[in-house]
Amino acid sequence: MLLYVIKRLLLLPLLVIIFSMFAFFIIQAPPGDFVTSYIAELAASGSSIDQAQIDGLRSLYGLDQPIYVQYLKWMGRIITGDLGVSLDWQRPIAELIGERLLLTVLLGIFTFLFTWALAIPIGILSATKQYSFIDYFFTVVNYFGVSTPTFMTALVLMWLAFSKFGISITGLFSAEYVDAPWTYDRVVDMLKHMWLPMVILGLDGTARLARVMRANLLDELKKPYMEMARAKGMSEWRLVMKYPVRLALNPLVSTIGWYLPLIFSGSVIVATVLNLPTIGPMLLRSLTNQDMFLAGSIILIYGFLAIIGTLISDILLVWLDPRIRMEES
């Protein structure tokens, strides 16, 4: 087990390097660079800029150098812990991300807890009472949950809230608290706003997770060990929770690691629609403006967390399932 973890950890730097190359070259892939989109922006607002200034900007940001030199310089800075400066915002990237990190992570964790707290009991109930009214009910609800795009749900709810109750449900704060320092009241205000994005972001995942849990559990409920546990004289509820639920949960618990990058970035589209001050919308903006160092940093952290998350998932799986533990050692 320990050996397995060490082996996996040794692979980590290699994976991160490969991923960073991908990230950098993909960001570079669209035609033009930050200066091109900067010029376009200026042109749109009626001003212009001469060639000398353009070249000056390019060499200032190192955009005139070959792509691999840019990549190496970027990596060189990142290794020393310097994420660089956002071209677009003209501020240190670490600061920009840091500002939004807390809210993003809070929302991510709440959404995650909401999803699991709801989906697992629903899955268990649907499977143990298969074809009952409650099972059909959740099946229908789940289909809605899975098939409606999340941003749609967000838009519909926003429209409903606004047209029926006249309240705006975008953002995570009321107007007076947006730029206020952290106080008790601001936290309360945030929690009042947080539940709705949490529900919207969580619905989709809840529906999916509940379906998977139901299917996994139905498989397990047919296994001979169920009959054996009954024959031993175990009570029905206790045996269901001890054996099939445990076995049905194993593969799900091992997916927990995959939530790690999502907790960091949050959902891009929904967060943009709801105008949430999280990292997702910032990533979208950096990509459209070709703010390559900001986009690169976010994607790099995202990828790093994805790799760590997968590692955590694999370790969890090995830890939970002795059969896999056996194979690995």
Binding site: Y225, E227, A231, G233, Y243, P322
Partner: protein, 347 residues
């Protein structure tokens, strides 16, 4: 062995049906037999004839949509306070209720058909044995551990203490079956039900497991219901034999009577289909004419008549013969031996 004592288990006219969309599967359709204290009863019959459903009915663990629709299963509790109150009809108990659960695993224990899958793969053998102990005995973890180790020791598990931490899939087929037997023994049951316990293991191991069961039976003075589709195995373990066909009992008798003096045409055909008693064959019935009818279109009358050498037209296909005593120890359901039909009794 002693027919004068009262039976431990009495099954009368047991009917367990599965109501499917396609129709009714009469998996068990009027089964009668007794199990006396200390007796090994072998139930034999081709695959699909309702052996497993019969014993699942007795344990009240028939899965949906199966349901006991008729009959009684009288059991004499040996352990709890009302042991002297006479038999309980298990059919009337709630399947998942406390009373039935006190009997399951405690008084009547099961060794299931698939020992491979009957253990949870993510819990240790020890965990599952200790659980079995603590379900029915008021002991602490340490005592339960010792009881479980003792049971493993008794079934001949090498290194029992270490095996407590093993997973079922780490054991060989034979050892896994021993662990299963140990689990069934932890509560000292009065009746052990073994459902084809040797089907999944090789012949040498099979012989060891059969010997083990026999010696355990003597030591604990348990009764055993031993289910198999293999007459060769029956000859090695059983005192008394119940021959089943399509959900009904064709013949019952001592192992000697069944092997040396079979009365029912089906029993005779079964015996002829194995070369010798001691070379059990996998393919049990190559010589019986025809094939088992589909459970949905059971013939009217005697279920065996379409394949029977002694079929009497107008009799066997009209009425269903009931199981009747033809001498002290032997009963047959066949119109060659009596003319009592099920319909007469119902009327």
């Amino acid at each position: 062995m002693n027919n004068l004592t009262k039976p431990l288990l009495t099954v009368r006219n047991l009917k367990t049906y599965f109501k499917l969309d396609e129709g009714m599967v009469k998996a068990v359709d009027g089964v009668d037999f007794d199990v006396f204290p200390g007796q090994v009863v072998g139930i034999v019959g081709e695959s699909g004839c309702g052996k497993s459903v019969t014993i699942k009915s007795a344990l009240r663990i028939v899965e949906k949509p199966g349901e006991i629709v008729d009959g009684e299963i009288l059991y004499h509790p040996q352990k709890n306070a009302d042991a002297n109150d006479g038999p309980v009809d298990l059919v009337t108990l709630k399947a998942h209720g406390k009373k039935m659960r006190d009997i399951r695993g405690n008084e009547i224990a099961l060794i299931p058909q698939e020992p491979m899958a009957a253990f949870s793969p993510v819990h240790t053998i020890g965990n599952q044995l200790i659980e079995a102990v603590r379900l029915h005995q008021k002991v602490n973890k340490k005592q339960a551990f010792d009881i479980a180790v003792q049971a493993l020791h008794e079934v001949g598990m090498p290194n029992p203490e270490r095996r407590m931490g093993a997973y079922s899939w780490e054991l060989s087929g034979g050892l896994r079956q021993r662990a299963m037997i140990a689990m069934a023994l932890t509560c000292n049951p009065s009746l052990l039900i073994a459902d084809e316990p040797t089907t999944a293991i090789d012949v040498t191991t099979q012989a060891q497991v059969l010997n083990l069961l026999r010696s355990l039976q003597e030591r604990h003075n348990m009764s055993i219901i031993f289910i198999t589709h293999d007459l060769g195995v029956i000859a090695q373990v059983a005192d008394f034999v119940v021959v089943m066909y399509l959900g009904r009992v064709m013949e019952t008798g001592t192992v000697d009577d069944i092997f040396h003096n079979p009365q029912h045409p089906y029993t005779k055909a079964l015996l002829e289909s194995i070369p010798t008693v001691h070379s059990p064959s996998k393919e049990l019935l190559p010589t019986i004419e025809g094939s088992i009818p589909h459970p949905f279109n059971r013939p009217a009358g005697c279920p065996f008549y379409p394949r029977c050498a002694d079929f009497m037209a107008g009799v066997c296909d009209k009425r269903t013969p009931s199981l009747q005593k033809i001498n002290d120890k032997q009963s047959v359901s066949c119109f060659l031996h009596h003319d009592k039909a099920e319909e007469d009794e119902a009327a």
